[in-house]
Amino acid sequence: MNLGLLAPGTLVALLILTPLIGALLVSLTGRWPNLRETVTLLTAATLFGLATQLIDPVVNGDGASLVVAEPIPGLSIAFDVEPLGLVFSLLASLLWFVTSVYAIGYVRGIKEQRQTSFFAFFAIAICGAMGVATAGNLLTLFIFYEVLTLSTWPLVTHKRTGAARAGGRTYLGVLMVTSIGLLLPAIIWTWVVAGTTDFTPGGILIGRINPTAAAILLTMFVLGVGKAAVMPMHRWLPAAMVAPTPVSALLHAVAVVKAGVFTITKVVIYIFGIDFLAAVPMEKYLVYLAGFTVVAASIVALKQVELKRMLAYSTISQLSYIVLAALVLAPMAEIGAGVHIVAHAFGKITLFFCAGAIYVAAKKTRIDQLRGIGHRMPWTMMAFAIAALSMIGVPPTAGFVSKWYIIGGAFQADNYFVLAVLMVSTGLNAAYFLPIVFRAFFRREDHVPEQPHGEAPWPMVAALTFTAAATILFFIFNAPVIDIEARMLEVAR
């Protein structure tokens, strides 16, 4: 439903400002938790509403752009929403609302310390994600990329224990090293070579850089975007699991990591251009690297004992699906990359929600403790099962849709390596997800817990039920997303 009340440029500005205002109000209302949570929910709902208003302008091709300042002559802080960014901003804002509902149950359920700063930094992180989604050039994207890194550090270290500090160091270390050491030089190199960093359909580098240098530049981008967690830049993601679960759920399954793969996809489509990259000789080695990450992370996930760490390695693997799909350079695969950003988001956020629900209700964090828990927490474990199927890529779940497109793209490009990777990975995903589901429902509990528990607080169950339902519904009602993604390719051609 488009109300058409605001000009697209204003909408973009509000998209960035709303979470910031939300963060400010949250810190001001810290003394009254109910009011504070109302503010969070209202902000999130407003943000999603604003994002929906951008659908029409973007799909109709009117675009929505905004120029704010010009810190470096010729290079401005500018926003320009294109289809992929629209999908990302819709996704992040919708799931922010859901996660806020969940987080309220979570922080109250375990009486978390410093809840105000928790919600405030959360909102700032969303501002970062919105900025990444709507950035019109690499400079702007980098600004918000770093906002996202820095605003999530207090969330990762929220518990302030020794483990949290150590995790925070790895988190910040890897993300800053990659972004300053590789991504920033790559962006400046692009600027020096092309004289612009605007995201332009068809790319800006054709004829301006020789293929070998382009291969190096692409490598700098792929590894420099540490948030995409392509090996060997993946270490921060397991380290971030010391964070409270809502953080892991929204930020480390959706906003932060998707900002990473989103950046890579945008660089591939709008900076290099698919046609130009096809002529870059060493590009296929990055496909191999992403393929390796898919398989290797799955194997590591098999061996994990902690549920959240397992999910983290699963995320690393799934993120490289997207990188892989983007680098296959076939139209269907590009759509698959965009679809998987959405599909994986619903599935993985559900899984993290479940892990958090189990922690709050049963104080259990290890996989081997989950025998028979399906009887005590049927909703949670049903949601877990659905999301697990989506990770494996079984119909009728969202994961199947994206896998369909990626495989289609692999055939378009005659890339059988990708096909093999997908097959192996599907098997591995089944091997680490299905036993958990099986044990939860078909095994007896080891011993009856001293304090018998049921489901987690209702906001948490509501949230995870919603996302699990969305995982199934996306299988059926995916047309709007795919239409928008297809726009992206039309525009890019």
């Binding site: 810190p71 770093e146 270290t157 302030r160 910040l172 270390g173 300053i180 920033l184 030089p185």
Partner: protein, 490 residues
């Protein structure tokens, strides 16, 4: 009177105020006079810069035309620097009042007089167009700085001041020898005049020796690795206010003199006939890495920031090592931006010293809660140091990397990147202590410092963000300055 006639007063007012200040009794009057003198100097500098950017301004002392008389010659380069020095002084003087009351309880008149002398010395070095006059002001500022450092309350202050004196005197003497050789060869001390005459005698051993003497002498003054040994001690033992002032201005002025001598006096061609690029790129690069690693190992915040300053000087050295518009622009911009960030950081640490009497890093534990505004300012300035976007530090890093990439200096790109990461590590230690570690058991509650500390620090912190977004003053003037130095453009 036109603005050109007012120009020398930005140096003379602090200079004249200094002896008066020394005689004033009590605490209030000397401070007030200092504030007035500094304010006047800043206003004049602010009025001069816009005109100097258009075309160089020239003032002849006693109406003696140069090269006979002494000339003040101000263009985009030193106009920007003069503005920086006087503005920093203007921000620091309100800040220093309480801190000085604590650290120098007695005889504040002479203390403020020394401060004024140091400041007017730095202004004089910046504005003058006479190579010997530079030496005179260099000595004025240096001698008063030695005495200021010696005012520190810590035991090491005297020793540090002495070390600084030895190294500083060596540097000034080397510079003087160089200028003397140039005088013998050219028969003039006026910089512009020298520049015209040097090409005729460029191919002589004497001129080359002069170049080397001046380079090494100024290298000592600007604490270029490996001539930096005096700096950490001087910075960490001086009174907090002096540390802020030195870190923000003193080494910057030495960098300026070096740029002026190399580009405006010797000329690019002569410099390139000497191992100029190698000198700066190698020493700058090693300096960044060495000093950053040293900074990680320091136990007190002031020493850590001091080593960080040595590293930052390395960045400037790298930038001026590329003989290109982009490179010099990067150097000049970083000169300005680094003063903003280091000033803010040292102010935050100074506030902590004021409250705790200590700046050991483990003592920062829990301060995120007890001194929230100070630590927030510190954290934001840290972001600028690391080069996070939207801060002045990011602009510096961007133009520096742009210059390096455009020239294909990939090793430099690597060094800058590694240096930034090391900065994350050493600054992260304080942030981590302040926010993630609980206050030590049994420490009395620490109160946040008052507005006299907060306002100046926040002016600098916010300036870091202002100049990260609106760069017309910094980047614009620096680009113009680079054109002036290289003798190109309008």
């Amino acid at each position: 009177m036109s603005i050109v006639d007012w120009m020398p007063f930005s140096v003379l007012l602090p200079l004249i105020a200094a002896p008066v200040c020394a005689l004033l009794p009590g605490r209030m009057l000397p401070w007030l006079l200092t504030l007035i003198a500094v304010l006047a100097s800043a206003v004049i500098s602010a009025l001069v810069l816009p005109q100097a950017v258009q075309a160089p301004l020239s003032y002849h002392f006693g109406n003696w035309p140069p090269p006979i008389g002494i000339e003040y010659r101000v263009d985009a380069v030193n106009g920007l620097l003069a503005l920086l020095i006087s503005m920093m002084a203007l921000v620091i003087v309100p800040w220093m009042r309480q801190s000085v009351n604590q650290e120098v309880p007695q005889r504040q008149g002479p203390f403020y007089a020394l401060f004024l002398l140091a400041m007017s010395g730095l202004m004089g070095i910046t504005l003058t167009g006479d190579a010997f006059n530079v030496f005179v002001f260099l000595e004025i500022s240096s001698l008063s700085t030695y005495a200021l450092v010696a005012h520190g309350t810590r035991r090491g202050a005297l020793l540090s001041a002495f070390r600084y004196l030895i190294m500083g005197t060596l540097g000034a003497t080397f510079y003087l020898i160089g200028v003397g050789l140039l005088y013998i060869m050219t028969g003039t001390l006026n910089m512009a005049d020298m520049a015209e005459r040097i090409p005729e005698v460029a191919d002589t051993r004497a001129v080359r020796a002069a170049f080397v003497f001046i380079m090494v002498g100024l290298g000592l003054k600007l604490a270029l690795f490996p001539l930096h040994r005096w700096l950490p001690g001087a910075y960490s033992n001086a009174p907090s206010a002096i540390t802020v002032f030195l870190a923000a201005t003193a080494t910057k002025v030495a960098v300026y003199v070096m740029l002026r001598m190399v580009f405006s006096v010797f000329g690019v061609e002569f410099a390139l006939s000497m191992p100029y690029e190698e000198f700066f790129l190698v020493l700058g690069g090693i300096g960044i890495l060495y000093a950053s690693v040293q900074a990680i190992g320091q136990r007190t915040a002031k020493r850590m920031l001091a080593y960080s300053s040595v590293a930052q000087i390395g960045y400037i050295a790298l930038a001026v090592g590329f003989v290109s518009i982009d490179g010099l622009t990067a150097g000049l911009v970083h000169l300005f931006n680094h003063a903003l960030m280091k000033g803010a950081l040292f102010m935050a640490v100074g506030a902590v010293v004021y409250r705790l009497g200590s700046n050991r890093i483990e003592d920062f534990a829990g301060l995120g809660r007890e001194m929230p505004w100070t630590m927030l300012g510190f954290t934001l300035a840290t972001l600028s140091m690391i080069g996070v976007p939207l801060t002045a530090g990011f602009i510096s890093k961007w133009v520096l990397l742009q210059a390096a990439i455009a020239d294909g200096h990939w090793i430099v790109v690597g060094v800058v990147a590694v240096g930034s990461m090391l900065a994350v590590v050493y600054l992260g230690r304080i942030i981590e202590a302040a926010y993630l570690r609980p206050a030590p058991e049994g420490r009395a509650p620490v109160r946040e410092v008052g507005l006299w500390f907060q306002l100046p620090m926040w002016v600098l912190v916010l300036a870091n963000f202002w100049f990260g977004i609106d760069t017309s003053l910094t980047l614009g003037t620096a680009t113009r300055g680079a054109e002036v130095l290289l003798g190109v453009g309008p």
